[in-house]
């Protein structure tokens, strides 16, 4: 055998899990993203007293596919004065970063996408923040004012809020004592409590900062439609645009997964160690079966025969999934439980997290740029620092002075909240003295992009 071929074989033998998961990520995440968009549009429609997509497939279930096909066959426009290579590169960077970060996430105790890296969480955060380069390069390469302004806003915003998010994660990591993704969840399992209850302020900071990091409303300034048209994506069309879009939604999944892992108990079901709560194990199968039953009920109401069939197909798929999820309840198959139910709970928690994002988007107006930076630098970052200190003090009180953990954490959290109140008061005073809008006669020396 040719030595090169043999080397290839050895490589594949050693790394086939990673290779397969790579292929799966690239194949599956776009599909999930498409349906995430559909979910968002449907939710938005529901909250806005309208129907949302209803044309392609029953209740618009095939809309993501139609959108993907449309984007693929759209004309690909590159502006005349754009830097062609960078213009080509930027969306790829953005998408790759988001998809790579997904590789290190654990969907269950035995169901890890790629390797259990010993700096797992750091890897996820580091790689996903590389996506920023895609945004900056894309905005610069487009050679358009709107694009460059969107890119600049994005840079400032991401740099600021990643600091806050990182500090919030540090408080969680202090409790976990490890960066290994699997070990973080196992720690929560052995303690019997999700870290969100131990460090609620850190979780809150992370929620706010991760919304800003994924450029979602009310922090969607880089692509604020009513101001900058589409921000850094203004000049992009067709599949390049889709790459950005994909990266953005994949990023939402990533931050959701990080929050779930560190604060919401990862793949653990609620009350993981409480035996009389074991009936919760029935929930995964039951809820999916309920969705299937609803599809059966709706199938009869579809106007066209194709749609009836499609609805039945969805119903059958749901019921099959329910069966699979029910399988671990049968004694001999119970070894499947951690993997299957773990994935269910994990995805459920991510969905809830993303639902929160969407809900906020439909409800709140958008921050202005200087207000966003104020919130980041004057409130979130100081609060995150105080919180890290407080959690650290609580841990010392527990280990060195033998305090009860809950008592220690309640005291320090109260201290953090007092600090938050103080910061808010300070901020109110500051905005009361200096109006956000400087009068035109005296140009302000404050630089919105500082940071």
């Amino acid at each position: 055998m040719h030595p090169n071929l043999q080397a290839l074989l050895v490589f594949v033998q050693n790394w086939w899990v990673e290779l397969v998961s790579g292929v799966v990520i690239v194949a599956v995440v776009p599909l999930i993203t498409g349906y995430l968009v559909l979910m968002e549009r449907k939710l938005m429609a529901d909250m806005q007293a309208r129907l949302g997509p209803m044309r392609v497939g029953p209740h618009g279930l095939l809309q993501p596919i139609a959108d993907a096909v449309k984007l693929l066959i759209k004309e690909d426009i590159i502006p005349d004065n754009a830097d062609r290579f960078v213009f080509w590169l930027a969306p790829v960077v953005s998408m790759t970063a988001a998809l790579t970060a997904m590789g290190a996430i654990a969907f269950g105790p035995s169901f890890l996408v790629a390797r259990d890296i010993n700096v797992g969480l750091l890897f996820v955060i580091g790689v996903s923040s590389l996506g920023l380069f895609g945004i900056v390069l894309g905005g610069w390469a487009s050679n358009s004012h709107y694009s460059i302004m969107g890119a600049l806003r994005s840079t400032a915003q991401l740099v600021s809020y990643e600091t806050a998010a990182g500090l919030a994660l540090v408080s969680g990591l202090l409790l976990a004592g490890t960066l290994k993704i699997r070990a973080i969840v196992q720690m929560q399992e052995s303690l019997g409590v999700w870290f969100v209850f131990l460090a609620p302020v850190a979780f809150f900071i992370y929620v706010v900062a991760s919304i800003a990091e994924t450029n979602r409303a009310p922090f969607d300034l880089p692509e604020a439609e009513s101001e900058l048209v589409a921000g850094y994506m203004t000049e992009y069309s067709g599949f390049r645009w889709a790459c950005y879009f994909l990266g953005e939604y994949a990023n939402m999944i990533v931050v959701g997964a990080v929050a779930t892992t560190l604060f919401l108990g990862g793949w653990l079901r609620p009350f993981p160690n409480v035996h009389w709560m074991n009936w919760l194990d029935v929930l995964p199968a039951l809820s999916i079966a309920a969705v299937g039953a609803y599809c059966v009920y709706r199938a009869g109401k579809q106007p066209a025969r194709v749609q009836v069939w499609f609805m039945w197909g969805v119903a059958l798929a749901c019921l099959a999934t329910a069966l699979i999820l029910a399988a671990p309840l049968y004694g001999p198959l119970s070894f499947l439980q951690p993997g299957l139910h773990g994935a269910f709970w994990f995805l459920l928690k991510i969905s809830a997290y993303i639902y929160l994002f969407m809900w906020l988007r439909f409800t709140l107006p958008r921050y202005r740029f200087d207000q966003l930076m104020h919130l980041g630098w004057y409130i979130l970052i100081p609060l995150a620092i105080v919180n890290v200190l407080a959690v650290g003090v609580a841990m010392i009180l527990e280990t060195e002075y033998g305090w009860n953990r809950w008592l220690a954490l309640v005291v320090t959290t109260a201290f953090t909240l007092a600090a938050a109140l103080f910061l808010l008061r300070l901020n109110d005073k500051r905005s009361a003295t200096a109006s956000s809008a400087a009068p035109p006669e005296e140009p302000t020396t404050e630089d919105s992009y500082a940071g």
């Binding site: 309208r50 009513s226 101001e227 048209v229 921050y367």
Partner: protein
């Protein structure tokens, strides 16, 4: 715009960035083009380029009979077509020295107030959308739909209605007109609370609108601004009270005024105006006098030679018609004072020193309709 050297000094010593906002831009409300001079994101000056929707409405008037021109005015402020029609019809009536019968006047008042609510709803929805709140727009459109349905049932058209005729009305109200209006008004009180819940106390909303685009009362008067823009600066000037027309004298209503003249005050003033319009409708709908709906006007209108100026309080401000007659059946000259065009002049004054995001909020708060700006 002054272009002296001192003004061109930017914070970082770089060139000023000239950004073209529009004519195709999601939040310029049509085809307005604003040339922004930016230092980073701070606005150093603005310049409006208008005329993309110019159709020569005033010139068209010179080649149409008085009746023929009436539908054209609907196309100016197409968000408040009924108000435009009221102003024109009353102006010509004044020129002819005829008066619409009382029944027609009351129905006109009801329709115009409904139109005011509809116009303010469009303003609220798009203004909130510009500031980034997606949902209020759809709630506003939902309520506006009810008003448009009433218009459609009354005269067959929803947007450019041509609801009134010179001398009165062409159509008698339909059977359930009073019931429809009453139901809408009853319902609307609850609906308006939804917008209040979504926006009024929202700290982001307050942060985005307080102290943004401040206009003092003197500035307003100097610029000729009118309508809610003027009233938000504390000037209690509403033609419905100051020079009553239609049937406004008969009804009790308040004129809301603001204090700071900022975007938040304009928001509060318009919200209160919607409530007041609702009250006017409720007062009027209970007792519409019986009688004819058309005054004594001939088939061919030949007003005596002369000139007339008549203005009404349209949803966006003072809408005036100056008509010169030479005694023939066609006006010699029609000059229209559009509130949007004159309020738009305040943009530069309001936007200087603010950020790009505020420009969007300021364009929204001025409540301009480009059909009226360009005519």
């Amino acid at each position: 715009m002054q272009d002296d050297a001192a003004q061109n000094q930017t914070l970082l010593g770089a060139d000023e960035l000239v950004l073209n906002m529009g004519p195709q831009h999601p939040s310029t409300h049509g085809v307005l083009r604003v040339k922004l001079k930016l230092d980073g994101e701070r606005v150093r000056g603005t310049e409006c380029v208008i005329g993309y929707l110019h159709r020569g409405v005033e010139k068209i008037a010179e080649n149409r009979t008085y009746q023929q021109f009436a539908p054209y005015v609907d196309r100016m402020d197409y968000v408040a077509a009924v108000s435009n029609g009221l102003g024109y019809c009353e102006a010509v009536e004044k020129l002819l020295n005829v008066e619409a019968p009382p029944r027609a006047k009351v129905i006109r008042t009801i329709m115009t107030e409904l139109q005011r609510i509809a116009s303010h709803l469009i303003w609220l929805g798009t203004h909130a959308l510009d500031i980034g709140a997606l949902t209020p727009l759809f709630y506003c459109l939902r309520e506006r739909e009810e008003i448009l349905k009433i218009f459609e049932k009354y005269c067959g058209a929803r947007l450019t209605t041509h609801a009134f005729r010179i001398g009165g009305l062409q159509y008698e109200t339909y059977d359930s007109f009073e019931k429809d209006v009453e139901r809408f008004c009853k319902d609307f009180e609850r609906r308006i609370q939804e917008y209040v819940d979504l926006l009024t106390g929202n700290s982001i909303w307050i942060g985005r609108t307080r102290n943004v685009g401040v206009l003092s009362a003197e500035d307003c008067i100097a610029l000729g601004a009118s309508g809610p823009v003027l009233r938000a600066s504390g000037v209690k000037w509403d033609l419905r009270k100051a020079q009553p027309y239609a049937a406004y004298e008969q009804y009790k209503f308040e004129i809301p005024v603001g204090t700071n003249g900022d975007t938040y005050d304009r928001y509060m003033v318009r919200m209160e105006e919607m409530r007041q319009s609702r009250l006017i409708c409720l007062q009027a709908i209970g007792n519409i006098p019986a009688g004819p709906i058309m005054g004594k006007v001939g088939k061919v209108l030949k007003p005596p030679a002369g000139e007339i100026y008549h203005s009404i309080e349209a949803p966006k401000g003072i809408l005036g018609y100056y008509i010169v007659s030479d005694g023939t059946s066609q006006p010699y000259r029609v000059r229209i004072r559009p509130p949007s065009f004159i309020n738009l002049q305040a943009l530069d004054k309001m936007a200087r020193g603010h950020l790009v995001a505020d420009v969007v909020a300021i364009i929204g708060t001025l409540d301009i309709v480009l059909g009226e700006v360009d005519r």
